[in-house]
Amino acid sequence: MLVTLALVASARPYSTIGFETDDLIETLDSETGAVRVHFSVEGPSATWIQDDDADGEPDFPMHALVVAEESLILYGLLGLEPLVPEADFGVEHGGSAAIDVYMPEFIQGADGSWRSDVCDDERCTGHLLVDHRFSNWADPDDGLDTVVPHELFHGIQAAYSPDWPVWFSEGTATWAERQYIDDSFDFMGFAGAYLDDVSRPIDRPPAGPVPSFAYGACLFFDFLTLRHDATLMTEILELGSIDVLADPDADLMATIDAALQARSDTLEAAWVDFARWNLAVGNRAGGVESYPYAERLGAPQPEERGAFLDVDPRYFAYGTIYLRLAHEGGPMALWAEDDGSAVHLDLFPADGTEDIQPSVWTGTLDAGTQELGDLPAGTYFLLGTVPTRVDQSINVRLCLGASADVAGCAEEPEPTDEDGGGCGCRTSPSGLGWAVPIGLLGLVSRRR
């Protein structure tokens, strides 16, 4: 049904949405009445109004309507809470009780957002905005297929809690993109942003207004739901809402651990496998288990590489460092100056085309020398990751290479900071405030 509306003053007037006074705005309602799309057919926010299928309604806003409805059905099938109805807060915006999707012109690079209208302590109701044309996308329909499910998922999150840490809110919303479109290139792109910086704790995106890394946490959530099934997300949100409502700084990695333990799994085990899968992607995919789309991802770069490594990597909780060794063949050893036993290690050979092969050695970063075996010549990757919460980062000098070379490290200790004139004085608190909450009362924007 197509309805033409004037620019009217209401509790959510079009002027606050981004439409201009000279926009001629129309609406489309879904047959179920669950979704209403508001779009402009003339004016600054005029959308694509072609009607190629000659059904009497413009195809592009109709596509937005269909994607929104299908996304909501999908989320319902996963057992997720529905978006909070406006009626629960005694309001009716947009001229009906439907979920409102607005299509104004976006500026400054964003292409969609979820806005909460009103919240109580536990949840919010709100509405969606998506760009009027998605002109920056090769295919504007791809924009709708990506952004509508993403922003609707923020609405789902708001049904559980008004506030989530940004890495969790954006990571799960980007995860939702792939639930709707299996080969979502937007998902793949953001997964790459994570793989570009895997040494960073996944729940600590970098500062700044464009935290692609936060969106990239989608890869972890996809790993978890591939490891189990997509309804795991429902369980994580249910447990997470309890935790973040009780404490906005709650450690959601602990929440995920609890959800996994309810399925006879642990975060520690899952995280190590996540780090393994992430090594075997891109040009390294094919030899061991990884994502079904592993070849489409860019392989994370090793932090150091060489025929013999004498390095001092810094390992953070829920971060991973890969070292690449060109081994000449024969006994290989690992030496560590201090104990860093919270660091899980795996040694993976790679074949001639760099495809990762099954691990040949697994252990932890223990002080002293560990013999890794008599290994044939070739390329090896040493995976190091901290799959548990630790109070502070682990910074240990280590040597990796032929056993004869590694023996030299133990005999010739590297100069310390004190020797070099630095103060060598660093402290960390006993506990780290890992989660950074964001306010969802306002605006959750994508790629601002």
Partner: protein, 242 residues
């Protein structure tokens, strides 16, 4: 010959001693950076040295210095190191040091990356460089007298539990550094023309103002809120005041 040498050296020695006597050091020993891991993560500190260009042009008794803190450009700064500099009688000098090593070093005074300027103090570094913003101050007229009664701040932007204290810009992850008042955010990084008195660890003081953040288009940003080009191409004006 020996007599001649001594006569040449004495004035230099006296001069050096005189300078040492004039300034009361604020600190001489480093202090531990309290939230080390958080700082590494929150500010994306790198195990690398910046090659950001630093230039100096004499400006009366002081200098106009440029600092290339573009850090790979918009969206790439998290993967690039900060530029570290120190104020000297010969101009602003780059200190080639990694981000991580800088947390142990008193050699630098100021660090720049994109729109954040850190001082070597508090959460940012082990020294005690502090700054006082002189609201409504006129950079040209500022003198050592303006430092008297001014409130100096170190870079203290972490709580005891190491939660970052953000500035008032509204940009996420933008710490409340002592030099934060140099800019505002009307949709781009606008200069506020707020001058500062900076007190070095040696006790020596200088006045400082950020004239430009963008390589070009600063005025457009300041007046219209439209971003300029080459964000992080700082133009700083500064002069020792004592």
């Amino acid at each position: 010959m020996r007599t001649l040498s001594l006569s040449l050296l004495l004035p230099l020695a006296f001069s050096a001693c005189k300078k040492e006597a004039v300034y009361e050091p604020v600190c001489t020993e480093p202090t531990a950076v309290s939230c080390f891991d958080d700082l590494l993560i929150d500010l994306s500190l790198q195990d690398a040295v910046s090659n950001g260009r630093v230039t100096n042009t004499p400006d009366g008794d002081g200098w106009v210095s440029t600092v290339d803190a573009t850090a790979g450009g918009f969206g790439n700064s998290a993967n690039n190191p900060w530029v570290y500099v120190k104020f000297t009688d010969e101009g602003l000098a780059r200190v080639d040091i990694t981000d991580e090593d800088a947390l142990d070093s008193m050699e630098w005074h100021l660090a720049a990356r994109r729109f954040i300027l850190r001082l070597n103090s508090g959460a940012s570094g082990p020294s005690c460089v502090q700054a006082a913003a002189i609201a409504n101050g006129d950079y040209t007229a500022l003198s050592a007298a303006d430092a008297e009664g001014a409130t100096f701040f170190a870079d203290d932007y972490y709580t005891e539990s190491c939660d970052m204290i953000n500035d008032s810009s509204g940009l996420p992850g933008s710490p409340q550094v002592a030099l934060a008042p140099w800019w505002s955010y009307p949709g781009c990084v606008a200069t506020t023309d707020v001058p500062f008195i900076v007190r070095l660890d040696s006790g020596r003081q200088l006045k400082l103002i950020v004239d430009q953040y963008y390589g070009s288009g600063q005025e457009q940003c300041n007046s219209q809120g439209a971003p300029g080009n080459d964000g992080g191409e700082y133009t700083l004006r500064w002069s020792f005041v004592d």
